[in-house]
Each structure stands twice: as structure tokens, then as C-alpha cells.
């Protein structure tokens, strides 16, 4: 008996057997469906978070260094950084002059505030004070109008560049460029609108922001406020060297003695990527393990029902053996039956998880790549084979004389 004939026959028999016990098959499949749904949803959530993170993090720029008081990934020693002196925006001037590996340097100050135009109000808007270099550091594109020039950025003229969210809130039906808006009660003329940058991890929008010259910002909020100095490095290959160079300049600016530790942090995108990778790695492993438990329970259900199926069909197995079915033929028949139940569970589960992941996407970013679907199908098949193997083996070992006598 060739494998082809054996497989086809096994499939036919199994299909008939499953069809003969529809309710039972559906109930058994339910366990696998739930298992596959939870595993794929978990996978989709992890994949979605990773992708959202990659998208968000790219807004930080792979070739940008951030000089700040706090390190991005602090661990448990946060109190050590608390007493550091604030980073002053003026450092940017020195850095720009001395750093050979920096192509653009922008000091950035930020606060939350309210922006108004006529009757319309946008609250909880990020207000950034910076220089013209900011556009170069971030590689920001303009959707409309322009960014302020070097001259304008240095001076304290009330000019502003706004984000898409602010634009659509305050100017639903008109072109914002040239209009005058009020930020914390002061008037600013809009120079331009920058292109949409999306949101950070789906949590806050990067477009709900207005950018004004640093001088204007300091007029409103005063000078004593911790700044971030963003430095764009000439090329990504020079990141390490640039970091060393900046460190030297900063230590000189801060007048640190050689034995004193740095009292500032130079952050970069990699730090977050690594930290995030570790977190999603652990969360993913735990999540997959927990959801895999439900698949395991589903597998036990299959095994149980396969034992019932074998016992019920003892006589049939005896007949088949008497007529010349070999052990492996019987084994294959029951393995196919178990796999068939699991596979259909897997396919239904996958069919359900796709719309469900769309639903979850409203709260959490999800993504379901083809590889995840293929893995889900393979896993369901594997569960079928594993949970079918013991009952199928038992069936294949039945003594034909005993089996024929079974009523």
C-alpha cells in the first residue's frame, strides 16, 4: 500500500469519522480554537508593539545624540541623577563651534500649554523652544509654509511652526500660514505646518506640538529650565566617536575634574531599542507560555476524545486488521483524524483572530504577519499529531482477535 493511497484513504476515513460525530468534533475543536486564538493574538500584540516601537523610535533619529540630565534607561539608581545640574541651552553654541562630528546642534526646551485661535482652543499642546537647527536635527519636513531661519530663531520675534494636530484643531477650514495664534496669551504668527509624524507608541501624538524660537520660549517661561541638546552626527558610523567628542566638550563646559564622573547623559536611540527588546522578549515569552497553556489544555481534550474514538471503533479496527490493514495504516488513520480536528481548529482560530486583532488594534497596536499565520497552522497540526500519537499507537497495537470480539 503506497503512502499516497494510505494518506488519501486515511483522510477519507477520518473525515467520515469526524462528520459522524459533529457535535463532539465541534466541542473538541473549540479547545484548539481558543488556544490558537489566544496564541495568535498574543503574537500579534507582541509583533504590533515591536513594530509600533520601531516606528516611534525612528522619530528620535538613529544618528541623533541627546544631551540630557537624565539617562533614558536609568535602572534603580535614579536618585544619583537627581542632583545633577540642569543642561543649559547655551551649551549648544559651544558644541556647535567645537564638535567636528556634529552636523547640526539644537537646544530644545519644552512645556505644556494652551494655544488659541479666535474661539478655538487646543489644550495640552507641547510648546517647544528651539533654534533653526531643530529642523536639520530632526530632518523635519514642512507640509505647508517654512521653518524659521537661523536669524529668526536667534531673535525673539513671535513666530511659530505648528504640528498637524494643532493645525486641524484650530484651522479646520482654512490655511493656517500667516495667521496669528495665541500661546499662553501671547501672539505668534504662523510660519508653517510640519508634516505628520504620527504618535509615540500610540500614546501621545508628535503632531500636537508648536515650535517657537528659544528666545520667545525663555521670555514666557524663564531661563532656568532643563534643556535637551539634540546633536545630529555627520554619519551613523561616527556615533561612538561623536559621543566621545561630545563628552569631552560637555565635561569642559561643566568644569569637571578628571576624577569626577559625568554629570550629564548622552542618550541615543539604541539605548531604548535594546531596553525595549529585553522587555518585549520577557513579556513575549511569558505571554506565549501562558497562552500556550490553553492550547495544551485543548490538546488534552483532543487526546481524550481520540481515546474515546479508538475505544468506540475497536471492532472497526479489528475488521480493518482482519482485512489486511497494517499497524501503520491504523496509526496513520487516527493520527490524521486528530490532526484534522486540530487543523480545522487552527484554521477557524486563525480566521477568528484576524478580525479580533483588528478590534484589539483600537487599544493596542497589533500586527499579524504571514509568518505568524503559518506558525499558528503548524502549531495546531503539531498539537494534533502529539495528542493523537498515543491513542493512535494504542489502536495500531490492538490484537485483531480481541478487537473483533469487542462489542
Amino acid at each position: 500500500m503506497t503512502l499516497g493511497v494510505e494518506l488519501r484513504e486515511g483522510f477519507k476515513i477520518s473525515f467520515a469519522a469526524v462528520m459522524a460525530n459533529k457535535v463532539r468534533a465541534v466541542l473538541t475543536t473549540l479547545g484548539i480554537i481558543i488556544g490558537i486564538v489566544s496564541v495568535t493574538l498574543m503574537g500579534a500584540a507582541i509583533e504590533g508593539l515591536n513594530r509600533a516601537f520601531q516606528n516611534s523610535i525612528s522619530s528620535l533619529g538613529a544618528d541623533v545624540l541627546y544631551i540630557q540630565k537624565w539617562p533614558w534607561v536609568a535602572g534603580e539608581e535614579w536618585w544619583r541623577y537627581r542632583n545633577r545640574r540642569d543642561i543649559k541651552p547655551e551649551y549648544a553654541e559651544t558644541i556647535k563651534k567645537d564638535a567636528t562630528l556634529a552636523s547640526a546642534v539644537a537646544p530644545v526646551q519644552g512645556r505644556m500649554g494652551t494655544v488659541k485661535y479666535g474661539d478655538l482652543t487646543a489644550s495640552n499642546v507641547q510648546i517647544f523652544g528651539t533654534t533653526a537647527d531643530y529642523a536639520l536635527v530632526t530632518g523635519m519636513d514642512m507640509a505647508d509654509g517654512r521653518f524659521f531661519t537661523d536669524q529668526e530663531g536667534r531673535g525673539d520675534r513671535p513666530l511659530v511652526v505648528i504640528g498637524g494636530d494643532v493645525a486641524s484643531k484650530l484651522f479646520p477650514n482654512q490655511d493656517p500660514v500667516g495667521k496669528t495664534i495665541k500661546i499662553n496669551g501671547l501672539s505668534f504668527r504662523i510660519l508653517g505646518v510640519y508634516s505628520k509624524q504620527g504618535s509615540f507608541m500610540g500614546m501621545f501624538s508628535l503632531d500636537n506640538r508648536v515650535i517657537i524660537p528659544l528666545g520667545e520660549f525663555e521670555k514666557m517661561y524663564g531661563r532656568e529650565y532643563g534643556a535637551t541638546i539634540q546633536v545630529r552626527v555627520v554619519s551613523q558610523k561616527e556615533m561612538d566617536d561623536a559621543k566621545e567628542e561630545l563628552r569631552g566638550i560637555m565635561r569642559k563646559l561643566r568644569k569637571l575634574a578628571p576624577d569626577q564622573p559625568d554629570d550629564f547623559s548622552i542618550n541615543q536611540q539604541d539605548l531604548l531599542t535594546n531596553a525595549f527588546g529585553k522587555i518585549t522578549g520577557v513579556v513575549g515569552a511569558v505571554g506565549i507560555f501562558v497562552t500556550a497553556l490553553s492550547l495544551f489544555v485543548g490538546g488534552i481534550g483532543i487526546m481524550n476524545i481520540m481515546f474515546v474514538s479508538v475505544t468506540e471503533r475497536t471492532k472497526e479496527i479489528g475488521i480493518r486488521k482482519a482485512l489486511g490493514a497494517r499497524r501503520q495504516t491504523i496509526l496513520l488513520q487516527f493520527l490524521i483524524e486528530a490532526s484534522l480536528i486540530c487543523l480545522s481548529g487552527g484554521i477557524i482560530g486563525l480566521g477568528l483572530s484576524y478580525p479580533l486583532s483588528m478590534l484589539v488594534d483600537k487599544f493596542l497596536p497589533t500586527a499579524m504577519p504571514v509568518s505568524l499565520a503559518i506558525i499558528a497552522i503548524l502549531i495546531s497540526l503539531l498539537v494534533g499529531v502529539i495528542s493523537g500519537i498515543v491513542p493512535a499507537y494504542r489502536a495500531s497495537r490492538l490484537d485483531p482477535v480481541e478487537a473483533l470480539r469487542y462489542e
Binding site: E316, A322, G324, R326, V401
Partner: protein
């Protein structure tokens, strides 16, 4: 037409048992000797009935003859091939190619239609769809069920079911047909029909072994082997068997 059949034609002996014993281990060092040193030869084309009361070892003998079980000691040559030490899969092959079973309870697969039931032995021989379908159909027509090939067993009468089983037994051209109480679950009229059918098969040259405890069923055979306490009590052609029965009866009357 398997090789076994042509071998059988060569030496004439389909079945040869040489001092075959079967001992069942019942655990706790209790052993039951179901067969003790049975020697027996059945030639091609014979129509043999095996008789015996329950517990005589008749069923054990049938299981061994049908290659469903192997002897504890002794030799069993089926078509000249020693099958006494074969493993499960080898025995399955011998059953598939060489033996056609007809059971008391028909033993059809309930979910499959008549055609598929008859196809089964051919499926396990690895014969392609078209050929096996054609052969199964031909067999069903031969047993007079050409109109009912797509009926499931529960849609057929007892006699029809047994005819499906006979078609299934014949479909792979077996060397022997082994029938275990084939009329046991049928009314007498249907039973007679089935027995007539066996006679026709015998006339066509098939080797038939009939296991029964009914005297009048065994009468259809040409040779009757009686088993008692795991031994052959008598092995006589039908005419002599008649005489022996008559004397037995006469003795009883005289007493």
C-alpha cells in the same frame, strides 16, 4: 491473483498444520491448552466444515487458520509458506491477499456503503481507485447486489449484508474463504440462500472452510472435521460422516 495462489496450485496443499498447539497464559501460572498438537491438511478446492461444541478449541483453530493468531508451537504452512512466526504486518499481508473472511455478525463498516466495504481489502493491497471500484462493483453484481452498491449496511437486510461480506471476502481472489457461522444471525430461509451460494462458489473451484456448530449447516460441506478438547476427534468425508452419525444415532436408540 497473488503469487500465493499460483504456489498453491503447484503443490495442491493450501493449508498444512503440523503439530500445532496453542496455550493461553491466563496469568497466576494458570495455562489453558486450547489446541494440542493438531495436524491437518486442506487441499485446494476443498469444502471443509470445522465442527465442535463451544470450548472445544474450534474458534482458536479458526483464528490460527485465518492468520489472526499464531500457534504457540508447531508449524503452519499457508500456501507452502511458514506463517507460524510472522509478525503483525506480515500476517496482515497474508490475510489481505490470501484469506477471505465471512463472519457471523457480517462485520461491515457501518459508516461506509456496500461498495466501499467491498473495496477495503483492495485498498489495503494498494490497488488504484478505478481498478478497485470496478472489481468491487463486479463482485457486488455477482452476489446480486448490483442495484444496492451505495446502500449503507443499516439500509440492507441481514441476507444482503452477508452477501456484501461475501463479496468483500472474494474481491481479492483469496486462496481460502473462511466462514465463521455465516448463517448464525440469519433466518433459516436466508441461511439456506447463503449456503447455496457457498456451494456455487465451491463449484467454481474456491476453497471454503466453514466453522459451525450446526449439523445441518456442516452437511453442506464435503468433509467434516470435528474438534473436541483441543484435538481432532474425527476427520471424515461427508459420506463416511453420514454413516458415522447413523451408527451413533443407532447406538443411542439401542441404549
Amino acid at each position: 491473483m497473488s503469487n500465493e495462489n499460483t504456489d498453491a496450485a503447484a503443490n495442491g496443499k493450501v493449508i498444512e498444520l503440523i503439530k500445532v498447539s496453542k496455550i493461553y497464559d491466563m496469568g497466576a501460572e494458570v495455562q489453558v491448552q486450547a489446541l494440542s498438537e493438531i495436524s491437518l491438511t486442506i487441499e485446494k478446492g476443498e469444502y471443509v466444515a470445522i465442527m465442535g461444541p463451544s470450548g472445544s478449541g474450534k474458534t482458536t483453530l479458526m483464528n490460527i487458520l485465518g492468520c489472526l493468531d499464531t500457534p504457540t508451537s508447531g508449524k503452519y504452512l499457508f500456501n507452502g509458506i511458514d506463517v507460524s512466526d510472522m509478525d503483525d504486518n506480515e500476517l496482515a499481508r497474508v490475510r489481505n491477499r490470501g484469506i477471505g473472511f465471512v463472519f457471523q455478525t457480517f462485520n461491515l463498516i457501518p459508516r461506509s456503503d456496500a461498495l466501499h466495504n467491498v473495496e477495503l481489502p483492495l485498498i489495503y493491497s494498494g490497488i488504484g481507485v478505478e481498478e478497485r471500484r470496478a472489481r468491487a462493483k463486479k463482485m457486488l453484481e455477482m452476489v446480486g447486489l448490483g442495484e444496492r452498491i451505495h446502500h449503507k449496511p443499516n439500509e440492507l437486510s441481514g441476507g444482503q449484508r452477508q452477501r456484501v461480506a461475501i463479496a468483500r471476502a472474494l474481491v481479492n481472489n483469496p486462496a481460502i474463504i473462511l466462514a465463521d457461522e455465516p448463517t448464525g444471525n440469519l433466518d433459516s430461509r436466508t441461511g439456506d440462500e447463503i449456503m447455496t451460494f457457498f456451494e456455487e462458489l465451491h463449484a467454481q473451484g474456491n476453497t471454503i472452510i466453514l466453522v459451525t456448530h450446526e449439523e445441518y449447516i456442516a452437511e453442506h460441506a464435503k468433509r467434516i472435521i470435528r474438534i473436541r478438547d483441543g484435538r481432532i476427534e474425527s476427520d471424515l468425508p461427508i459420506e463416511k460422516n453420514h454413516k458415522a452419525q447413523m451408527t451413533k444415532a443407532a447406538e443411542k436408540v439401542q441404549k
